[in-house]
């Protein structure tokens, strides 16, 4: 299973979201959050390790280097074999937040470029809120994109990914030990 499937018309546009590559003119943003019936510390034990993204359903394996230090890297292997390479840009365990960016992804897997993201846990007592936000450009670097690589397609794909990930965290935490 891929993060997202786009039409075969996009097959020629095998782009890699390297550092500051060419991109469209309009950066997109999204924020998704979920309430979890558990203490923030408990939620953080599930999502707080950059080297373990097993809480995101499409991810089969996380391999990386650098732990949770700034500039740490990880490669996510998705069910079906596609990979996504990411780099940690900020990590604050006390504030329960970190930021990272995608350094390499095929637009057929996730139709975005120049993607960066923050995730954080806040809360009190036995209530937490996980907030996941992303900033990215569409997968098509030029004007007049095909529909599957449009701004709308990028937002839809990221929203679906975030919603699936957050639901999975909630389930793991609330049903977990």
């Amino acid at each position: 299973m891929k993060f997202h499937l786009v039409a075969a018309a996009a097959a020629l546009l095998v782009g890699f979201a390297g550092a500051a590559e060419a991109h469209g003119p309009t950066r997109q943003k999204t924020t998704q959050s979920i309430e979890i019936n558990a203490a923030p510390d408990k939620v953080w034990t599930v999502i707080g390790n950059f080297q373990d993204m097993s809480w995101l359903p499409p991810v089969e394996k996380t391999e990386g280097a650098g732990g949770n230090d700034k500039d740490a890297t990880r490669t996510l292997t998705l069910k079906g074999g596609a990979t996504v390479k990411e780099q940690l840009t900020k990590y604050d365990a006390d504030a329960k937040t970190y930021a990272y960016r995608i350094t390499e992804v095929d637009v057929k897997v996730l139709p975005v470029s120049n993607y960066s993201s923050h995730i954080s846990v806040k809360g009190e007592g036995d209530k937490s809120t996980v907030t996941w936000q992303g900033a990215f450009y569409r997968g098509f670097p030029n004007n007049d994109p095909p529909p599957e690589l449009s701004d709308e397609a990028a937002i839809k794909a990221v929203n679906e990914l975030y919603q699936a990930g957050l639901a999975s965290v909630k389930e793991k935490v609330e049903k977990g030990s």
Partner: protein
């Protein structure tokens, strides 16, 4: 003497308070007009086409806004805060700058290797000036003689003679220059280099880079005030400040998320920073290097260009 100085500074501060900000909200498809004295939004002007670039004319009469998705240039009567024209363009209009005389307007086409010369009265593109790849930020020297284009994907700045409309020089800078800013005496220019996380300092007389200053992650543009350079770091939620004489870093100021457009007040006592993700403008005090306050704007403010309008001081109409 001291009292006189204080009185003078009060007068200057008072005049500066008449500034307005014209902030392009790309996600929201509109523009927020901020009254910077009152510290609040006083108008929202619908634009469309995902507005990004903005240029207030030197006399403050007009504001030009680019819409890269809508392929247009919107002309705003700044005092009336109304759209008076929308000129159809081509490609991906992004960076914009107005000639100090008020016309023409220069528009960078993000997808082409040229800058459009637009005559707003004739509502027409009168020339296309060859530059490098993905021209982004534009700036005209105060004497109106030269246009600078930050050619993002060529890692250079192009210098265009505005009399002949020919490129006369290219200056290699850091990687992926986005914003370019010329100081008020036309002596130096500064590019924010997105991929190399630094600022190139260009001496315009010799057309050479005379300094490189490391800043934060993904710098967007440089704002200048009172001998200091303020650089928005998109990925660091911060503004780097350095001294333009020594090129030494003075401070890193926390601001909102994804800071982008930066510009100084007319009297150079304040710096305004548009925070794209936070939907707010941070107001930085140039003397203390602290954020004074944060002003709400629309969704996805970019304010890429000259977005501060110095309105007539209290003595005016």
């Amino acid at each position: 003497m001291r009292a006189a100085l204080v009185a003078l500074s009060l007068v200057v501060a008072g005049a500066a308070c008449a500034d307005e900000a014209f902030v392009t909200n790309q996600t929201g498809d509109d523009l927020t007009v901020l009254d910077l004295a009152a510290g609040k939004a006083v108008a929202t002007i619908p634009i469309g086409g995902k507005p990004a670039g903005v240029a207030v004319s030197a006399d403050g009469a007009r504001v030009y806004v680019t819409s890269p998705e809508g392929k247009s240039l919107t002309v705003i009567d700044a005092a009336a805060r109304t759209v008076i024209d929308r000129i159809a363009l081509e490609g991906g209009p992004l960076g914009v700058s107005v000639h100090p005389s008020g016309t023409p307007v220069y528009v960078a086409d993000w997808y082409a290797k040229h800058v459009l010369v637009v005559d707003p009265a004739a509502r027409a593109v009168t020339a296309r000036v060859e530059v490098g790849a993905s021209p982004s930020g534009l700036a005209v020297t105060p004497d109106g003689a030269t246009l600078l284009s930050a050619d993002r994907d060529s890692d250079q700045v192009s210098l265009v003679d505005l009399r002949t409309l020919k490129r006369v020089a290219t200056i290699p800078v850091g990687q992926r220059p986005f914003g370019v800013t010329i100081d008020r005496d036309g002596r130096r220019a500064y590019t924010a280099n997105v991929a190399s996380n630094d600022v190139s300092v260009i001496d315009l007389a010799t057309q050479k880079v005379v300094g490189v200053v490391k800043v934060g992650e993904r710098p967007y543009v440089v704002g200048l005030a009172a001998g200091k350079a303020f650089v928005s770091n998109q990925y660091d939620e911060s503004v780097s400040v350095f001294d333009v004489s020594t090129l030494k870093t003075l401070a890193t100021i926390p601001v909102g998320e994804y800071p982008e457009g930066v510009e100084a007040s007319a009297d150079e006592t304040k710096i305004y920073v548009a925070n794209w993700f936070s939907n707010a403008v941070s107001v930085i005090d140039v003397a203390t290097l602290k954020v004074d306050r944060s002003l709400d704007v629309g969704d996805g403010p970019r304010a890429f260009g000259a977005f501060i309008r110095a309105t007539p001081a209290q003595a005016g109409p």
